[in-house]
Each structure stands twice: as structure tokens, then as C-alpha cells.
Symmetry: C2
Subunit: 246 residues, 2 copies
């Protein structure tokens, strides 16, 4: 996510038909930290109560949205405009993926950038696209027409997440190796004399059956403590020490 | 995008309330190449005509969707289930980003994997999540509640695009450096004697004013040819040779 203090992309909807999509766009903008919504010649006029219905907690974005007659008007203070569109074989324009578009816009900061979206049934016209610097195309399977607000979701999501760390956020309560060894030793000891493993096979069997289970299962410290508590309970000595673990 | 012949993630909607969201989910699935939709206890019954209205060209996904009474039933043949949810501080589960979730699922192939989504107003219950292996959390700004179908869009998009090349798809019709030099020489020559540059300053001025413009503007071959055609026309000799370029 780029610095909060810098300019964030403007979202421009050109001739949107359904108020629901304008509302769903505003909600997605709020989810991903955008707030400047501009609407060019909406089919059903403006304001539109259906936009509010779909906006969830993004009513302020709907209320502060600005209305324009033409796309050039809406772009008047923008330095870079990217047109959201499927591939256009009839126009020679650079074509970005959503991820590379996000990088392009961030590199252009503090320039004011805009993502431009067309109407639901046939997208942006060639005339609309001629006002933009490049196309951004969301990769799709055979059916390339995304719902309008869903296109906004993908581009806003990529912009928002571009600098977030990508690692898996596993719990920070992973057990240490000594905790793992502790339960391993404890359970092994408890099984002694139960007949679970034949004489002399203890090491092999337990390593195979239990040590790898512990290491590969990515249990948390708390889960490990629970297993020890269960083993203790199964042997009928649940109260053998004062620190109970469920 | 993983191999087309392998298992793709199942999408499971648990207790969805609005048919529109089921339809919008199906459309997003079709956009990103998924087709196995499972619905657990939809509020308004099934089938639901509103789902068809929002499905665009994904009617077949709606028609082939399967209905279940419980989440464990819907998961019966799945090997790995990831619950789409905002961070849950009350449960100790690994938490994936959408991108790392896609990688995790792909590495698990040919296991059958599932993304599980909760109802619109309050998401998945702790009981629902207890049937899943991990949580996948879509990073958001302060407002973390995504529209149901928009959550599906983000996870399906990340799964679909994970192995797609990330480079910018600039036009392949970039000019060669000799084409750039050609128009540079041509225009420089045409300006000779027009008074555009003072005696002796030709090289400096043209390099500063025009060569860098050509190199930095990323024009295509066709645009370069157009510029030469315009220059020729401005000098009143549009027909000086037979290959006209507009």
C-alpha cells in the first residue's frame, strides 16, 4: 500500500446504468482505501437511492461523488488515466495487467491517477479510451466480461495490496522444538508398558508414528498442551499436577 | 493459472441471503474459470430466479450448483477447505493472504480444495470455520467487510492469475531505433531554413526538443509514421511519395 499521505487513484464510472453498481463500487473503494468517485452521465440520473442501498458503510463516498457530463471533464485534473477494458485489437495502446497498473500508478506519484470504467453492457467506447494513456485488462478465462463493480474490486485490491507482505500469516503461537520434544517424550513414556509398541521398537515406531505427526501438523502451543492433557486424562491421572490444559 | 486438467477450487456459499449474490458469484466463477458451486441452506430456498438475473453468461454454473444442508456435507469430498473471513482473534488458525492461499491450493493438487464463504451480514460462524483447515483474509483498509460476491472475485482472481506473466503487455509494434532516427533526421531536415532553430544550434535544440520526446514517449511504429506524414503535409508536399501514412 502506497504512503497514506499521497494521492490515491480516482475511480471514474462512465455512463453507468445501474445504481446498484455505483453503490457496490463505493463499497469496494472503501474496503481498499479509495475515496474519490466521479460519475460521468449516469443513465438514471443522480443522486440514485439504489446506489445508497448497495454502499454498505460507504455512504460518504456516494455523497461526495462528483458528477460530470463528459470523460475529459472528469479527467480534468488527472495526470494519468488507465482505461479498464478487455483487450482491444483495434487500438494500439499499451496494455497493463492489474498488478503492473498498480505499480505504474505508484511510480507516477505524486501525479493524480485515475481508473476509468465503462458502462455495464458494452464498456468504454474507442472515443473514451482515446482520452486514456493505456488500457488495464483483467485476465480472465474464456468469458471476459466482468461485472462493473467487480472490475473496480480487482483494480482497487491490486492497488491496495501491492506493497503488503505476501507471507502466510501463521499463528505466532507455534510451539518451539523443545515443546514438541516435551510432548513426544511425555507420550512415549506414558505408552511404555501399555503394549502399544513391541519391546525394542519404541524409538522407531514412535518417531515414525508420532514425531513426524507433531512436526508436520503445524499444531500450536495450545493444541500441543491440549494433547498432553488428553493423554494424561486417558491414563486416569488428570489431576497429576495443578496446571490443567484443555 | 494451474494446469487446466487438474482439479479447480470448489466455491461454497454458506447460508447466503441474497439470490443476487449467488448469481454474481457464478458470474465471477465463470470469469476466472471455476465451475463447481455448492450452496448450503440458502435463506430464500433454491432455485432462486434472482440468481439467474445476475449470472450473466454463467447460467450453467447456477443450474449445476449443488445444494447441501450443512457445511460438512458440502465438504464431503474436499481435502482442503479455506474459510474466507476477516481476522479472527478468537481462533487459532493459520491465516493466508489471497495470493498465498492460491499457492497453497495449487501445491496441494491433485487434492480437491474449497473456498468457503459465509452469509452476507455476519460471515462464517466459529462452528463453520472449525471445519476448515485455515482462514484466508482479504487485506482491506479500515472497513473490512466485503460484499459476498466481491470476496469470491478476489480469491478466484488470485487463483486464476497466479501463474500468469506479470510484465506489462506493451504493443509489440514498438519502433526500432532506426525508425526513430529516421523520423528525427527527416523532421530535422524539414525544419532547416524555417527559422525554428538559430544557425549552429540545430543539433542541441533538436536533440533536446525532439529526440528525447521520441525516445521517452513510447510511440508505436504507426504513430511515428503518422508524425512523418503530418510533417510532410504541413510542408505542403503530402503527395511527395506514394506511401501515404495517416
Amino acid at each position: 500500500m502506497p504512503d497514506q499521505n499521497t494521492q490515491k487513484p480516482v475511480i471514474i464510472l462512465v455512463r453507468p446504468q445501474l445504481g446498484e453498481n455505483i453503490g457496490a463500487t463505493a463499497r469496494a473503494m472503501k474496503n481498499f482505501g479509495l475515496d474519490d468517485l466521479r460519475i460521468v452521465a449516469p443513465r438514471d440520473g443522480w443522486p440514485n437511492p439504489k446506489a445508497h442501498e448497495m454502499a454498505a458503510h460507504a455512504d460518504h463516498i456516494i455523497e461526495q461523488a462528483t458528477l460530470y457530463d463528459t470523460l475529459p471533464d472528469a479527467l480534468h485534473d488527472c495526470h494519468i488515466a488507465l482505461a479498464s477494458s478487455a483487450r482491444r485489437r483495434d487500438m494500439e495502446l499499451p496494455s497493463y495487467t492489474p498488478r503492473s497498473a498498480a505499480q505504474y500508478m505508484t511510480k507516477a506519484l505524486p501525479a493524480r491517477t485515475a481508473f476509468v470504467f465503462g458502462q455495464e453492457n458494452n464498456g468504454l467506447s474507442n472515443e473514451d479510451i482515446s482520452h486514456c494513456h493505456a488500457i488495464v485488462t483483467i485476465p480472465t478465462d474464456a468469458y471476459s466480461s466482468l461485472n462493473l463493480a467487480q472490475s473496480v474490486v480487482v483494480l482497487a485490491y491490486e492497488y491496495f495490496t501491492q506493497d503488503l507482505p505476501e507471507q502466510i500469516n501463521h499463528s505466532t503461537k507455534q510451539p518451539t522444538l523443545s515443546e514438541v520434544q516435551g510432548i513426544y517424550d511425555d507420550i512415549t513414556e506414558r505408552l511404555e508398558g501399555t503394549g502399544y509398541y513391541p519391546e525394542g521398537k519404541r524409538g522407531t515406531i514412535m518417531r515414525q508414528h508420532f514425531k513426524q505427526t507433531l512436526l508436520q501438523s503445524q499444531l500450536t502451543s495450545a493444541q500441543i498442551r491440549s494433547l498432553r492433557g488428553m493423554a494424561r486424562a486417558l491414563q486416569g491421572n488428570h489431576n497429576e499436577n495443578s496446571s490443567q490444559n484443555y
